[in-house]
């Protein structure tokens, strides 16, 4: 009836790479998300080596050229611009390369700073409790119903547009993006404080520092990673929105800025469709990749989601 041949397969020492590849095959959203990010990084690195980034600024190329990549007549090459150029005479390929790493820079700065602030605030507030905790929690609660983007508009529009750089963009985003990670980390620390391993450490005389860095922080790492990814998402997202309404660093070929420029020059009405489409496509890839990674990390942290399929 029941077969008795359920012998375990021989244990083979798999290399770390193979294990990772195996896991990514199962956790599809994490795998696909990381794959897209890898492709975008390769595109940007390749461009940074092969393209003169000075061409990302106005009057450096023949304006309003359609993308050469779609022109298959061989004699047209090599004079063609692979991704075309815009109304202001920016080489779109150079602009995309520059815009990509600038977007990534904003995202990473905003993500890292926001996560750091969130971890520190959430941690101290939950671990030490008391008045400080009530204060932090109250501020987060009051700020939550206020649409962050609206406040960012106020900040960005009070700045002189000539002063706005990639870094100011990142800081504007960080100033209002620490509530999310603070609340997440706070609730995690609160629940961990009650767990057995922390009480055991406390009872055996481990000091505050030992508990924080030895017991709680290691267990918090998955949540910090997830908070970082969603912070990067929020950073890219809000800087993109600010740029698209014309509050970005206007000189820079930031992806949102390119779309803003295209929109204000009526790119679709005039038939220069490639102008907004390249940055929009890049943005779709970046944001979906980040969303996929986030879903994958969720699945990693909360295995119950896996039951769906």
């Amino acid at each position: 009836m029941t077969t008795m041949t359920t012998t375990a397969p021989p244990i083979v020492q798999l290399s770390r790479m193979k294990l990772l590849a195996g896991y990514l095959r199962r956790n599809k959203s994490l795998g696909i998300g990381l794959g897209i990010i890898l492709l975008l990084v390769l595109f940007t690195l390749h461009g940074m080596v092969t393209v003169d980034q000075a061409r990302a600024y106005p009057l450096k190329a023949k304006p309003k050229q359609p993308p050469g990549i779609l022109d298959f007549s061989a004699e047209a090459w090599p004079g063609k611009l692979p991704m075309g150029s815009d109304f202001f005479g920016r080489d779109m390929h150079a602009a995309m390369v520059r815009g990509m790493w600038q977007t990534a820079l904003i995202g990473v700065i905003a993500g890292a700073a926001g996560t750091l602030v969130g971890v520190v605030l959430g941690f101290t507030s939950a671990y030490f409790g008391g008045v400080f905790d009530a204060f932090i929690k109250g501020i987060c609660q009051i700020l939550t119903p206020i649409p962050v983007f609206m406040i960012q508009i106020i900040i960005a529009s009070s700045l002189d547009k000539r002063d706005v750089t990639i870094f100011t963009m990142a800081w504007i985003v960080v100033m209002l993006a620490w509530m999310g990670p603070t609340l997440v980390i706070r609730s995690q620390v609160l629940s961990m404080k009650e767990r057995q391993f922390v009480s055991v450490a406390k009872l055996s005389g481990v000091g505050n520092g030992g508990i924080i860095f030895g017991e709680i922080l290691p267990n918090l790492l998955p949540f910090i990673a997830a908070a970082f990814v969603s912070q990067v998402f929020a950073g890219v997202f809000s800087s993109f929105y600010l740029a698209i309404v014309g509050l970005g660093p206007l000189r820079e070929p930031l992806l949102g800025n390119i779309i803003w420029g295209a929109q204000s020059q009526g790119a679709f009405f005039n038939g220069w469709w490639w102008w907004p489409i390249w940055p929009a496509a890049a943005m779709v890839l970046i944001l979906s990749a980040l969303a996929l990674i986030n879903m994958g990390l969720d699945e990693l942290a909360n295995p119950r989601i896996r039951r769906t399929e």
């Binding site: 406040i151 508009i153 009070s158 993109f240 309404v245 969303a291 996929l292």
Partner: protein, 332 residues
């Protein structure tokens, strides 16, 4: 007991509005940029105002910002005028007040946001609930999958692609604007139809951009709820599949989603305002975009404050709705 709850919520609402107006008051003052002077310089260059207009503007500017008064006094004056919904005058379209600009653009924003918020919530949650319901046929459950792929894509980007493919390439829809140029606005059937026709792409952008999020969260919720004992017992009672799905599964899974709806309002309005300016619909978002272009600061601050107050109010309203849906809340 109930009254206390309502009072507490209203107090919270006032606190939020106060925080928002305080932020919009102090942040501009932290920069050394003087919006009014800049605006004047610009207007003087183009010569676009008469001397009498200038006097009124200066007067309102003094009243509003009263730079001769101490900062705290300015602040209390400002809070007082916000409390009376006096948001100042437009520098660009003087003598229009900011409140007038908000009133004339509000119907456009409300119609777009209302339709897309409700539709995406209903579609997303229904598809998510079905996707997690093991007894639904496979094809029905898989309808949700394509929407999940749009989860990370903000409505603005969808708007760009829809413009490109459906409006620019296939010429199925107009390339923007509230209604076709050359038609006079009236209440005729043809005009209303024309307006609705121009609203299709913006609405689809908004809906496609937010359905995926609802599908995902509802699917997660559904997986939890379908394992609950009461869903099982409902089946043991011999209830039909439809009744179990609707009364036992969906109703319970929807409860946390309602809170989620309140939290999503902010990002919905954010996306909505950018989508509006992309399609050149004359709503609040477009007005905000134009004000940003024209350095019309009173309008920027006024619209931002108005949107913030509306979102906070709606969130509190949704929270009032919650006890009607979940009988357990009343007990607490």
């Amino acid at each position: 007991m109930r009254l206390q709850l309502i009072l507490r919520r209203v107090a919270f609402l006032i606190l939020v509005v106060w925080a928002a107006s305080t932020i919009t008051f102090f942040i501009p003052r932290m920069s050394d940029r003087n919006p009014i002077r800049e605006r004047f310089a610009e207007l003087a260059r183009t010569g676009g105002f008469s001397a009498s207009d200038l006097e009124v503007i200066v007067e309102s500017y003094n009243k509003k910002f009263g730079l001769d008064k101490p900062l705290m006094e300015q602040y209390f004056d400002y809070i007082g005028s916000v409390a009376q919904l006096d948001l100042g005058v437009s520098l660009n379209r003087f003598p229009k007040t900011v409140t007038e600009i908000i009133y004339e653009s509000l119907p456009w924003t409300i119609s777009l946001l209302f339709v897309s918020a409700i539709l995406s919530f209903v579609i997303g949650n229904l598809l998510g609930a079905i996707a997690a319901w093991p007894r639904a046929p496979g094809w029905l459950r898989s309808i949700a999958t394509p929407f999940i792929m749009f989860t990370g894509v903000p409505p603005v980007l969808l708007a760009i692609f829809l413009l490109f493919f459906l409006a620019f390439r296939l010429k199925l829809f107009p390339l923007g604007q509230a209604y076709s140029t050359g038609i006079a606005p009236d209440w005729s059937f043809g005009f209303v139809l024309n307006v609705m026709w121009h609203q299709v792409l913006p609405a689809i952008s908004m809906i496609l951009g937010s359905v995926g999020g609802w599908v995902l969260s509802m699917r997660g919720m559904g997986i939890t709820i379908q394992g609950e004992d009461y869903v099982n017992f409902a089946e043991h009672k011999g209830l039909g599949g439809r009744v179990i799905f609707r009364d036992y599964y969906l109703r319970n899974a929807l409860l946390p989603q309602v809170t989620g709806f309140a939290l999503a309002l902010g990002s919905l309005i954010t996306s909505g305002s950018v989508v509006e300016s992309l399609y050149a619909l004359p709503g609040l978002g477009s007005k905000l975009g134009q004000a940003i272009q024209a350095n019309d600061f009173m309008v920027i601050y006024g619209i931002v404050l108005f949107i913030t107050m509306s979102v906070a109010t709606l969130m509190v309203l949704v929270e009032f709705l919650y006890p009607l849906l979940d009988p357990r809340i009343k007990a607490d």
